[in-house]
Every structure is written in C-alpha cells, then in structure tokens.
C-alpha cells in the first residue's frame, strides 16, 4: 500500500522543474520590468541592466571574466547551430574540415550532416566502450584543412565526461577552434572555459533548473564567427531578435544558484547515483552499467537489463510512481535505438533493455531506496514473460 502515492521523478535530463527562486526572479519581467533593452528610456535601461546582470552570472558559472563573451539564445540546439555553422561559414577560406564524435547530441550530428551536403568534410570520431573520446586519435585526424572540432562536455544519456582539457590543448596547439556542447553538464560539473581552452560553449537553462526555451553560447573574444540568422543585430549581431528578458533573467538566476550549490549538490547526487548503481548491480542478475564508472555526470545512472525491453520497464515503473527514460527504439520517434548506445558497442537487443535515471535536487536517499525496493520486482515480472530469459534464471 502507499506505492501509488509515491512520486519519484528521475528523468531530469528530459525536463527539470524550475527553481522557485528562478520563477520569482522571472515574474517581475513579465509584469513590471517588461521594457525592451533597445529602448532609450528608463524601461529600456532597466531591461538592459537585467540583461547585463544575467550575462555576468552565466559568465561566472563557466569561468570567464568577460560577460560580453556570452550570447543568449533559445537553447542548446540554437547555440550548437550558431557555434558550428557560424564558425564553419566564416572560416571556410581556411579549410572545410570539422572533427566531431559519433555520440554527440542529435543536434550536433544533424548540423554536421547538413554542412556535409554543403561541401564540408566531417570526421565522426568513434568512442570506446565507455563512451570516451581518445584525444590522441582526435589529434591524428587533424589536417591542414581542419578548422573546428566539436566535442560534448558530457553525454546526457550515458553520463560519460570527456577529457575536455586535453582536447582543448590539442585544438589550441593546432590552431583550430574548439566547440563544446555542455548542455548536459551545465550546472553539474565545474566548467572553466579559460583553463580548458574552450573557444565556444553551448549551455542550456532548463538543465540547471531554469526555464525552457533559453540558452547561451560562450564565444571567446577574437573567434571568427558569423551569424546564422539575420535581423536587428541584437547580441553583438550574432543573435538577432528581441531579447527574451524573462527567460534570460531566469537563466541568470539559475546560473547563480547552480554556482552556489554545484560542489555540495554534486557530491550529494554522486553519492545517491553510486548507491543506486551499486544497489541495482548487486541485486539484479544480468544488469550492467552503461558509460564510464567514475568519469560520469553525478546525476546519471544508465543501466541495462538483459532479456527485457526498456519501454515496458518505463511503464512498469511509472505504475509505481517512478519516472525514467530509456534508449530503447520503442520509445523513440524513429524506432531506432539510441545512437549513443550503439556507438559504445551494444547490440540492438542490449540497447533496448536500457534505462536512464537522471537524478535532480528533488531526489532524496528515500527515493533511491524506493527504486531499489521495487525495481527488482518489475524486472523479474518482465523477465518471467520474456521468451529470451534462460529457464534456469526463473527457478
């Protein structure tokens, strides 16, 4: 009894609640401070102020002292588009080669495919079984035509954190631009664009308890880049369109809160994550961890269960009040399993049986205990039904 009442949301990579302090900060921008930063009067000045403060807060979170290096966008996808296309188009006289990886977010993969059709050459660097990029292999791919490399900070599905600093050094030594899609890592791990030699960094607001529909792109001063949309020339001409002040203020507040709590909350989540992973691996036969065991986001546990399928796991858990994701084809629009799981070498049937738990600040140790209490039963029930389960396992 009481199971139905419990709510354990562990799908924070798909959608996060907005922090009440963020919501509070945004409210005034709708009903009081609703001016346009381009206006000359006091309402305009007030909006400009809000914009500047948010830029400073986001800049601080990612380790730059120059707020003007931060451009606000509509989110991770737009930031990735501006970064990759903007640099590719502006630098095509220098070369047409871009290096990225096979496990990037679908937006980066599709941007690169789009550029390929326009004559750019793309190298998709494979990763190892834990989802790691080998910086030396990346170095080997650099030619005199290479203008840009784009590697994600951490993978939102399998959690693996890349050796960004090493890749940044290689990019710097070879004078090629380095773009990092840090959407999944935003607010969860310490990022320092200066120390890590990052030229462009995409971040998103909703991945750190900010509102949806707003993000930012860090562009290091001196980076040769051109806009991909034309308009009134806002955001240093790189992102035209009236600024989404409520969203930007929300993102600024979210960045400020993230910076304050990143160390403490990161440790807490990591402890919960490890308890969850260990608990599952210890109690459920033929369960496996996807991704790197230690170099992974503190919030991410991607687990795989043989002989059963992810969507039925999601449904079974949802009936018990637990919300998670899966890399199974049966949960995707394309009916293809997650490209990330296939790229780390899993067979299709293995990819189908994966579950992604993404923890957030609303999760407690009791939540993890509850998952550990009910998950074995859900797995067992589905395995009993599956023709793939070896008979001896059911005895």
């Amino acid at each position: 009894m009481g199971y139905e009442l419990r709510k354990v949301y562990m799908d924070n990579a798909a959608g996060m609640p907005v922090d009440p302090r963020v919501f509070e900060a945004m409210k005034t921008c709708f009903i009081e401070n609703y001016g346009n930063p381009s206006s000359s009067h006091s309402f305009g000045a007030s909006a400009r102020n809000a914009l500047m403060e948010s830029r400073e807060k986001v800049a601080r979170l990612i380790g730059t002292e120059k707020p003007e290096e931060v451009i606000f966008t509509s989110g991770g996808t737009e930031s990735n588009n501006l970064a990759i296309k903007g640099v590719a188009y502006r630098n095509k006289n220098r070369g047409n080669h871009i290096i990225t990886t096979t496990i990037e977010h679908i937006s980066v993969i599709n941007i690169c495919k789009h550029l390929q059709k326009q004559g750019f050459e793309i190298t998709y660097l494979p990763v190892d079984e834990q989802g790691m990029v080998d910086p030396e292999k990346l170095r080997d791919e650099i030619t005199d035509k290479t203008i840009l490399t784009s590697v994600m900070y951490a993978n939102g599905e399998i959690g693996t954190i890349q050796p960004i600093r090493d890749i940044g050094k290689i990019a710097r030594d070879n004078q090629i631009y380095f773009h990092v899609d840090a959407v999944a890592a935003t607010g969860k791990v310490h990022i320092n664009v200066e120390e890590e030699n990052i030229d462009l960094l995409s971040i998103s607001s909703n991945d750190m308890y900010g509102p949806k529909g707003v993000g930012a792109l860090y562009i290091k001063k001196g980076t040769r880049i051109q806009p991909v949309t034309q308009g009134g020339g806002q955001e240093r001409g790189l992102r035209s369109g009236s600024e989404n002040i409520p969203g930007i203020v929300g993102m600024g507040k979210a960045a400020e809160i993230a910076q304050e709590r990143i160390s403490v909350e990161g440790k807490r989540l990591q402890w919960l994550r490890d308890k969850l992973i260990k608990g599952v691996l210890d109690t459920i036969e033929r369960s496996y961890l996807n991704g790197h065991p230690t170099k992974r986001l503190p919030s991410n546990a991607n687990l795989r269960f043989s002989y059963i399928e992810g969507e039925s796991l999601i449904l079974g858990l949802d009936m018990l009040g637990i919300q998670v994701s899966s890399g199974s084809a049966c949960t995707s629009k394309t009916l293809e399993p997650s490209h990330v799981l296939l790229e780390i070498g899993l067979a299709h049937e293995e990819a189908h049986g994966s579950l992604v738990f993404t923890l957030g600040n609303q999760n407690s140790e009791e939540d993890v205990d509850y998952v550990l209490e009910v998950l074995p039963g859900v797995v067992k029930r589905l395995r009993t039904m599956s023709p793939l389960t070896p008979k001896e396992m059911l005895r």
Partner: protein
C-alpha cells in the same frame, strides 16, 4: 499514450507462460527490432483448448499478446485463423499508430502456431 485496456493487459497479462506439450508453437519478431513473441496452442477436437504466450517487447507487444490469447481461447481453428491484427488492436481500444506496425505481431504469432499445428498433423497422418 496507451488506452486503459492496453495498460490493464500490460499490468495483468492473461495466459503468460509456455505449454510444455503444445500442439503448435509460433514465434514472430526479432529481438533486434525490440519485439519477439511466441504463442503456444493446445488443440482438442479442432478447438484451441489452451493458448499461452511469452513476449519480449514494449507495452503494446505484451498487451497485444495477452489480448490475442483471450480472443483465441475456445475458438475453432477456422475462427482463430480469422483473428486479425486490427481485431486485436480494436479489442484493446486502439493502439498508437507508431505501434500498429512494429508491436502488433500477436495475431501473426497465433497464425504461425496454428500453421505449425496443421503441419505436424499432416506429417502424423
């Protein structure tokens, strides 16, 4: 996304299991695609006396398997062969369109089990 009936058959599937001395066994699907189901039938005097299933797959795959066993049980061979995929989907108050093709394999598994039974009967004649 799923109807209440689908969820009911997913949570409380009917006729799960194997029939050790089945008269016919039919397997369709492929674990690579994410769906694999096996239907077992026991035939007595041209009627499906018992029907059981085992399924690897999504919620829709499990619910359609469960439903097809309910629809087929007690039917004559001829009646059971007439059960279609849309009969199964309709009995579940519909399926999301994306699931109609990939996960609605239960009727095929039933028909495969019946064909297996008829083939065996032919051989034993």
């Amino acid at each position: 996304m799923y109807s209440e009936k689908v969820m009911d058959h997913f949570m409380k599937p009917r006729n799960v299991g194997e029939i050790p001395d089945a008269d016919g066994i039919g397997t369709v699907g492929n674990p690579v695609c994410g769906d694999l189901m096996t239907v077992y039938i026991k035939v007595k005097e041209n009627r499906l006396e018992d029907v059981k299933f085992k399924t690897f797959g999504c919620g829709a795959a499990i619910a359609t398997s469960s439903m097809v066993t309910e629809l087929a049980k007690g039917k004559t061979i001829e009646e059971a062969l007439k059960i279609t995929k849309s009969d199964v989907a309709d009995s579940l108050d519909g399926l999301p369109s994306v699931k109609m093709h990939c996960s609605n394999l239960a009727a095929d598994a039933l028909h495969a089990a019946i064909k297996d039974y008829m083939k065996k009967k032919e051989v034993n004649k």
